[in-house]
């Protein structure tokens, strides 16, 4: 068996198997954790305007009382759009005491910031970044520890995958930085 063939032999050491599995887990886990966080973020956004339906093509909301909340103001610097129901509609609505107790008519504050622009989104992106980096560190440590043993090619592959994930993620992070 030549050196190249040995690179792709199944690893003998159980520790090498575990490290390879772990690196794969960290790379996948980083993406999964971020995806879960992103899904929760979207859910939380929906729940914050529970009872109001956003009609994207017309860029307005409709409420349970039947009113249409049209765009009132856009604060580009604050990344926020304000939608408002007609005062005359809310004035006669039975839901007003619970829906807009302090206002003449109901407003909805819609954040225009996308996931990557929010503080929470950035937190999760950095967590992913460090996880990709850690996968790279562990691959390098594994290469150093198991040099010359069968299956080391898989570790080199893991290192390449880690570096690729790291580079792509870093690029995504930089491009989304305001």
């Amino acid at each position: 068996m030549n050196a190249i063939e040995q690179l792709w032999q199944p690893p003998v050491e159980i520790e090498l198997w575990l490290i390879l599995t772990y690196i794969a887990g960290v790379l996948i886990g980083a993406r999964v954790l971020e995806a879960i966080a992103k899904a929760h973020f979207a859910r939380a956004q929906r729940y914050a305007v529970h009872g109001f339906e956003y009609i994207a093509p017309r860029d307005h909301y409709t409420c349970l009382g039947g009113a249409t909340l049209k765009i009132d103001t856009i604060h580009a610097d604050e990344r926020m759009a304000i939608y408002r129901a007609p005062v005359e509609h809310c004035g006669g609505c039975r839901l007003k005491p619970t829906c807009a107790p302090q206002e003449a008519s109901r407003r909805i504050y819609r954040s225009l910031a996308i996931w990557t622009e929010t503080d929470v989104g950035r937190f999760h992106q950095y967590i992913s970044l460090i996880m990709f980096f850690i996968a790279g560190v562990l691959s390098t440590a594994g290469l150093w520890r198991f040099l010359g043993q069968p299956g080391i090619g898989y570790l080199a592959l893991a290192l390449t995958a880690s570096v690729a994930c790291l580079a792509l993620h870093y690029r995504r992070l930089k491009s989304s930085t305001p």
Binding site: I19, Q45, A48
Partner: protein, 767 residues
Amino acid sequence: MSTTARTPMSVSPLWLQASIVTFLVGFAILGYLAIRVYEDHPPIPGKVVMEDGQTLFTAEDVRDGQELFLTYGLMQYGSIYGHGAYLGPDFTADYLHRQAEEMHKQYGATAEALVRVERELQANRYDAAADVLTWSKGQSQAFDTLRRHYEETVLDRAASGGGGLGAHAVKSADDSRRIVAFIAWTAWTAAARRPGLPHSYTNNWPPEPLVGNRLTSEAVVWSTLSLVALLGGTGLLLTLFGRYSTVLGWHSPAPGLIRFRPAGEVALTPAQQITGWYFFIVCALFLLQTLLGGATAHYHAETGGFFGIDLAQWLPYNLTRTWHLQLALFFVVASYLAAGIFLAPLITGGEPRGQRPLTIALLAALVVVVVGSLAGEAASYKGWLQGASRPFLGAQGWEYLDLGRLWQILLVVGLVLWVIILFRGLQGKLRTESRGNLPHLFFYSALSIPAFYAVGLLSHSRSDFAVADFWRFWVVHLWVEDFLELFTTIMVAYMFVLLGVVQPRTATRVVYLDVLLYSIGGVVGTMHHLYFSGTPAIHMALGAFFSAAEVIPLTFLTVEAWAFMQMGAHTRVEGGPAAFPHRWAVLFLAAVGFWNFLGAGVFGFLINLPVVSYYQIGTHLTANHGHAAMMGVYGMLAIALIVFCLRYLLRPQDWSDRLIGFSFWTLNLGLAWMVFVNLFPLGVLQLADVVTNGYWHARSLEFFEKHAYIEWLRLPGDVIFIAGVVPLLYLSGLAVIRPTSVRTATGPTANTSESPLYTIEPALDTP
């Protein structure tokens, strides 16, 4: 006599009634389990004799040995029944394995000898009527051999280093003999079968083929059923959340345009100003705690020293670890106490006279307890204290309840004083609000903190191990994971109410939801710590079933917390997002959500099932859950509260977003590094080693030396993490040296209905 009408309950009384019922049911079950543990804990025989009737050791030797084991800090070096520290061996498993090997050798090292060893170790020859346990010739000889072994390799080792303990840690040969008698007794309980049952007193823990210790059928059955509980409970809760989501969660009408008062305009009461000192001390303790954590972890990388220095001579592993754990509790709890004192005047709009001296007295008491207990632990471990003063002034030595009895009692007294301070501060609201509303919930949860910490007084260094462990986990699990969590949930909810982002009604609903969900799983779930420490199988059954259910609220409350924090994103703040003064406090809360899901939820559940716990208890997978949950959830919560309060304690010109941001990123990334580079992968390797080479081997120094490279890889993460504490210490120091000059007089403010932190702008509300 004038009577003041209380404001009605802001939510349906059903919430309160349901909470009381689940709370009572949970504690009724725990009460039953307490009775069972007193009835069925492993017996300590009056004397253990050889077959010729010669006494090997007595019950008094075992109890003395346990006390010496604990007060010399050996539970913070190695472990018993998997409970304790991770550098030294698990003494139960190690003794059991070496004993079996020694007996096998004595009996001729044949296949028949193996069968004989297993039979003799499983045989329970304890005569309850005579209170005498008879050991075979092999067991008796092994005891003598292993006494010398532990004396030479651990207790009275000639050279320092090489294992984290200083030289001659236990100088007296008689003390060593009694310590080994205690260890030998625990090993006996781990192999001898319970009368009439096919498993040992420890439910066959540790896994040890030489004595025929294998998973019990109960462990498999209850692991399976707990998975059913998890899946069924998740389905049920998903259904309920889908159907009643608007009733259950953080959903409020839009609050309108909020104008936050600039931090420099928020007046502070005298007691609030004193909390600056608390936070400074908390941050100093936190820094010391992280440095000790670094040193503790380093013992795994370099078992023989600290970059060439014989650190074990001055700061042995058991002392650094004890202080590391104690300081973690101290800094977290002290920050919660201080935040409670800080929030009370914001809730009521002022404070009564005399709060300032009481707050100073509490601070002084905490300093005395912290300094006294840490010094006492050192004095006990180093052998400077003798006799009854060791557990009283020195260390009781139970992991997490390490502090001496005196300091433990003083801490309870301090916590009661804190409740008095809170009661005085809140009484204006307590008198006028319904007993089911937020101010009362805040006070009840505060009351539970000294009450449940005091439960720890039921265990002492001479208690039966299983009984002591039962009460110890009331503190470790119930006090920390349930009642401190409840208190902080209420504080965070109140913070957002005070900031105008959430209405009191919504916050109250979520607090009740928290009480309900945690009472269902968390209370009885405490027993998941006690599968293998001498409790009967019923503790495993109920612990596994209910603690699996605990994951459900944990996940759902995290999800709800996300929705809650998004309330802020849908609130219009005058001056834009930059005018929101608590961006970093909220980000620390977001980090709490992340670590709660990962550290407490995923990593906690990973080690929760009896079939997993059987192999992994006391490995780095436990430490992994401990760090990700304790620091990730409680530590980050503590920092969120500190950052929130510092915003008002610091002069506006001294506040630094950059420094707090630096802390936020370094603490989180450092913790992630610690977990993903070191604790989790090493735990997985250890688990594989348990299955391959046996539990005793996975806990040996040999294992750590083989994988030292993973410990070295942890170093950058620790450095990053420690660096993150420095800015917090600096800013809290500024709050003490140059406090904000905006002060308010003692006494309630004129308009308590107005929030001191924000106003709703009426001008923009005209159509």
